[in-house]
Structure formats: C-alpha cells, structure tokens
Symmetry: C2
Subunit: 239 residues, 2 copies
Amino acid sequence: MSSSKIPVIEIFGPTIQGEGMVIGRKTMFVRTAGCDFRCVWCDSAFTWDGSEKDNIRLLTPSEIFHELKQLGNQNFNHVTISGGNPALIGKPMMEFIELLHEHDIKVGLETQGSRWQDWFRSVDDLTISPKPPSSGMNTDFDVLDSIIENLAGKRISLKVVVFNDEDFDYARMVHKRYDAIDFYLSVGNKDPYESGDISSRLLMSLDWLWSKVMEDPEMNGVRALPQLHALVWANKRGV
Amino acid sequence: MSSSKIPVIEIFGPTIQGEGMVIGRKTMFVRTAGCDFRCVWCDSAFTWDGSEKDNIRLLTPSEIFHELKQLGNQNFNHVTISGGNPALIGKPMMEFIELLHEHDIKVGLETQGSRWQDWFRSVDDLTISPKPPSSGMNTDFDVLDSIIENLAGKRISLKVVVFNDEDFDYARMVHKRYDAIDFYLSVGNKDPYESGDISSRLLMSLDWLWSKVMEDPEMNGVRALPQLHALVWANKRGV
C-alpha cells in the first residue's frame, strides 16, 4: 500500500451516529478496510473477510475529503472514521484528520485498542472498544494499558459490546481497571445480517442489559445504550 | 408550604435515564410536584393536574435522601430531579443538592427555563428544555436569555421536544440563538398514556426526525435522540 493513501471500503452520509459517546449526532462515515481482529459477530466483516475486496480503494486524504463534500456539501461538521481497524493506518490518517480540522470538521473514531497511533490525541471523539469474550478475541492488556496511559488528560471513552453474562463480567473488569474513563456498554446485535425489523429483539436485549446494570453496584457510573441505527434502520448498509 | 421542605410526588429507582445529555446512565428519580406550565402533551401531568394530589408529600432533603438510600442502597451514584418544574423550589433544593454531593452523588436536573434559581450552578447535568409550539406554551426569551447568561462557562445542555415541523423550526431558532450550547432534540411521544408496546410508533417518529436533521445544514451539531425508556418499557410509570 502506498504510504500516503488510506484503504477505504465505504464513504456515506450524512447520517446519524447510532451508538456510543456521540449517540444521536449527525455525521459522515468513512470506513477503512483491514482489521487485525476477526470478531465472530463482526457487523462489518466485509472490511476484512475478502468478500468485498474489489470495493477497496486507495485514496489520499484529499480525495476522501472531496468525496465527503460531494456527498454532504454544507450538511455536516463531523466525520466518523470506522473500520475494520483504522489504527492500522499511520501517517495518512494523521493528514486526513488535520485536513478535516482545517475545515472545522470534528472527528470521531473507534478502535479496539490493539495498536497505538500518535494521531489518537488529535481525534475529537475517541472510543476505545476492547472486545469481550464472545468475540473470540483476546485483549492484550499491556497494549491497552499503554494506550490509555498515553491518552491521560484527554477525554475519551471506553465501550464494550455485551452479548451475554460473561461479556458483562469482562466489561465490569475493564471499567474497574480504567475507572476514571467514561464507560459505555453497547447491546450486541446477535444477527447483523438478519433482514427486516429487528427492533423488538434489540430492545429485549437492551432491557436485559439495563436490568444487569441496575442491580450491579460496580456499574453505577456506566452508560448502557443500544445501536439506534439498528433500531431505526435495521441492518441496512450505507446509512 | 414549609420553606424547608420539597413537595415530592414520586421517588423511584435505580433506573436508567432514557433521554438527553446523560442518556443510558443509571440514576434514581425524584419527581417534584407543581408546574408553572401546562403543556398539552405533558407525560407527567399528574404532577400538576390535581389527579394525584394525595400522593404529594412535603419532605425535607434528609428525608428524601434516606428514602433514596433505602430504595437504591449502594446501587447508584446519580440522582435525577424532575417535575413538574423543580425550579419552583428554592433553598431546600439547594440543601438537597448539597446533601447529595456530600455523599459523592451526582445530580441531573431538567427544567423549562422559565425561572432562575442560584442552585442551577450546582447541578452536574443541567438540561434547560424550552417548550415548542405544540406544547401550547410560550417561551419568555428575556428570562431564557438571562438564565443562559447566568450559566456562562458551565457545561449545560438545551433540549427541545419535537412533534412536528413547527417544533423543528422552533428548535432550530433556539439552537441558533444559543449556538455554543450542546443541543439535543427529543422525539415527542404523541400518546404518553397509550398502553402496550409503542416502540414501532416511536421509532418511526425518530426516523422522521433524523431525516429532518440530516438534510438541514443549520442542524449539523445537534443530537437527535428518542426516549429510550419509552422504547424499552413503553409508558410504564415508576421505571
């Protein structure tokens, strides 16, 4: 890959951020290809499983920016960078973030915390989302510790997706380990490829998660949220 | 009313805050009786319409605190004060907030911005929610201006409930007037007394509101959210 380009698999918007620390905010999405993880329930597996490799384009920061402006015109001031794992990308991502900031556009980004990049400090709304046991992945807490330490003094958030009791215990452990950091729980979507209305199923899962939070004195300060986009738009892509 | 007591109509929790700036957070609720407004769609009209006047108790801050501890034990660190309009209450509310802070409990409070109280500055999560045209109420912008001015430098939020296009226009106007303040839109619940599952109806309203936000360049920075408690628990009281 050219060191001045970013592998992009999707650009869309304006849309609404459906989860996490800026839930409900209007944003554009840039989704990068490639991931160092293989979560069994990944809702964006097409970014790494090869099924859409023909859609991957190597774009310069400026090319991505122009595509965003074509799509969104004056109709956005926030861009969400997602993946895959955007933390696999170094210098061109820094340039892209700087370019957005030059145009008074704020940047949200989510990454699993498996790898550090200096540009993390420039992200306005940064979410580190270590993966729970149900993902089939392991957390390298030495790496995560150093990432969190590197971000000391910056307001970031941690987010853990929860599918079951074991995930909830993992989330509690992560929350205790980094207890000064804003902590979000997100309800897992058991079937990100199911067609039709999935809101009843997701709301039942949220009800379950809320009950767990309400009765757990070690989870007093957390925020437990659904994926609003999945409630409103089900599993539709590109929104 | 005794000047050292607060008229309370409901105390419940632990529950989850379903809307606004701390959406998803575990909290206890204290609902005060009495309101200077009569919004036609009020979802807590029992606080002011006389239908539950026998449930109103005059309680000291310490009595409310003990009731909260009995209900929630160690299982909360946040209390939401709602109404009615809690801004009708002066000194005893200040004492109550101080008492909660002494116990490391954070305080969220929502009020329509029709009246100032010095203790606004002590509220951790303060939401000012001026009422849109569909409420049948008028906004006194002289009062609202002075409240917002008094809170300069403090991070607060504005929230406007939106039922229709006219409300949306009102929200845009309020957002422009106070453009430095975090701004939330909340989807109106057209029938807060309907029984059974109302989630489909509410999600359709949210879809409508999101579409309005997505196409409006003057609403780039707002956050548009549902009432999650109504999605999960419908119109149930005391949760």
